[in-house]
């Protein structure tokens, strides 16, 4: 593999949801500005002007608002979108408040209110036949339609990725049929199926065992100098990356959630020639300018 390959640079949305994996205290201190979609949309646009190619986000009311504003600002056409579903935090919070059955009822109501005929029909089929694949498809149709209606027709939705809690639970439960059904459905929609995971080495191994073609997918997973959230170990993840048939992996947590300074983080990422790209969250305009300028100078 060549060091010269252009790496895709994406803006991550963690700071827009008040997430800091280094410290929740730090996320709180960052202040209220981050909760304004206008502020976040400006950060995405600044990142684009300084070298970013796209936006990786969990599908929530917040990020959909950001997409709508970017679209109004005329940034939609330039933006490549990588959407992570479901926004697990919100669903877990709802399950805590109203219980799992309450969550299912609320979600069914949302789909009905959306008047998305295809989603409603698929959902009915799923319920009547107790068909989990039909329910998965219902959910995907619903989320994709929400993204497209917010981002505009010109948006480039490159991939819809399953959130790590779904990917990793399905891996643990050996649900090869779920991965296969998901991949087939996404390819049918002419989108790359994607998987967000914190068990990268294990996922690569299982896909090999199940004869699932990794070249057809996008994988999003942590890679950083200190091995933070790289399971079972940094070495195993690096080995798995080197053995991939072609670069399909986007690194997240490259700053190890703020533990590393961008220059030292980038020096490590430069050594991983088999990465397809990186996603980095930014919380201030000067961060957006400096970080993406630095990434562009060093990785592109």
């Amino acid at each position: 593999m060549s060091n010269e390959r252009k790496k895709m640079l994406l803006v991550g949305d963690n700071p827009f949801h008040g997430i800091s994996h280094l410290s929740q205290e730090r996320a709180r201190v960052r202040g209220d500005a981050m909760v304004y979609p206008e502020y976040a949309a400006n950060l995405v646009m600044t990142s684009l002007e300084n070298g970013a190619d796209g936006f990786m986000f969990s599908v929530s009311e917040m990020t959909l608002s950001i997409l709508r504003i970017i679209c109004e600002m005329g940034g939609g056409r330039r933006l490549r979108l990588y959407a992570i579903v479901p926004y697990a935090f919100e669903y877990v919070r709802l399950a805590t408040q109203i219980g799992t059955p309450g969550l299912i009822k609320k979600f069914a109501k949302q789909i009905t209110v959306s008047r998305n005929v295809r989603a409603i029909a698929m959902g009915l089929k799923g319920v009547v036949r107790t068909d989990p694949v039909a329910l998965l498809k219902t959910y995907l149709i619903y989320e994709i339609s929400r993204i497209k209606s917010s981002a505009g027709k010109q948006a480039n939705l490159d991939s819809v990725l399953l959130h790590e809690i779904i990917t990793d639970m399905a891996l643990a439960l050996n649900l090869d049929w779920l991965f296969k059904s998901y991949m087939d459905f996404m390819l049918e929609l002419q989108m790359k199926p994607g998987f967000n995971t914190r068990n990268f080495a294990y996922l690569v191994k299982k896909f090999g065992d199940w004869n699932l073609d990794l070249r057809e997918t996008i994988i999003v997973t942590p890679f950083n100098k200190v091995g933070f959230q790289m399971n079972p170990s940094q070495i195993e993840c690096e080995k798995a990356l080197a053995n991939l048939p072609e670069p399909n992996t986007i690194a997240i947590s490259i700053l190890a959630a703020g533990y590393l300074k961008p220059p030292e983080a980038i020096n490590y990422i430069r050594t991983l020639t088999d990465l397809k790209g990186v996603a980095v969250g930014v919380s201030k305009e000067h961060h957006a300018r400096e970080t993406f300028k630095l990434l562009k100078e060093n990785l592109v």
Binding site: R93, Q97, L173
Partner: protein, 333 residues
Amino acid sequence: MSREKLRVAVVGLGKMGVLHASILNILPNVQLTALCDKSTVILKFSKRIFNRVHVVDDVEKLSALDIDVIYVTTPIFSHSLVAKNVYSREIARNLFIEKTLASSYDEAKEVCELAQAFGGVNMVGYMKRFAVTFRKAKNLLTQETLGEVSSFDAYAYSSDFLGSKKNSKTSASRGGALRDSGCHVVDLALWFFGDLQVDSAKLQSPTEKDSENSVYFRVKKPSGLEGKFSVSRCMENYRLPEMGLLVRGSKGIMRVNDDKVSLKLKGGKSSTWYRHDLNDNVFFWLGAPEYVREDEYFVKSVLENRSAEPSFYAASKVDYIIDQVRYRAGRNE
């Protein structure tokens, strides 16, 4: 245990049940054998999804399946009932129960007595003990790095019920802020400092029985150690539940939460350890590393037939503290 693989059943398929079932399924020395839930919808889908696992609607139906270990992940109010059923019908001798052990100290005592009578290994899911930061803090206390501990402040905050209009049935079934997240920090304090007595307590917004949203209480030990607890599930800006302690000792102070441990000694020396510095990786990550460590540890304890901590007995002390808090608060003490 002479078996190579433990046959494990999970009772209760809410989010904690599915999480434990997933982790157990990937442990090399476990065979996820059965799942049990009352909900018809969950049963139907479970049968479609888990085709190599028995799916049943009643705990009693597990008795025919030669089960070694049962995980109880039902709502708190039913923990003791399920445990009694499992023991009395001799379905399994080894039990893991999600926190809290029971919905009162009296129920917890009954479960402890049954566990004592039937033997086997038992444990309660206070997974914070398996977080690298709290483990580091425990080590620092054991090594007496802080000298003699005089006081501590503990908190458990979340925004889970912030803006929640009413106390739903689910909210009540979670047992209020104390049983929801406060119990974790109570368990940590018991683990760090030993037995504690409640001195005074105040509940806020107790709109339904045992379903308070915020609690403040003080504890003490005969040795003179004093502690304060602040627990709320309606705090602003706590996107994820967070808990932590500030511990004061004769040689300095220590702050610990889910993210880091900071030590400030009187000589001027200070240190901070983040999760990154404390080897937080696991062989498989699901939910959080502490869940995986917790299940690995419990399974290993069963296989080696040695006691696991926090045992039912240790965990019953949390139920005791919670009952004491409610009693004191009821008397405005």
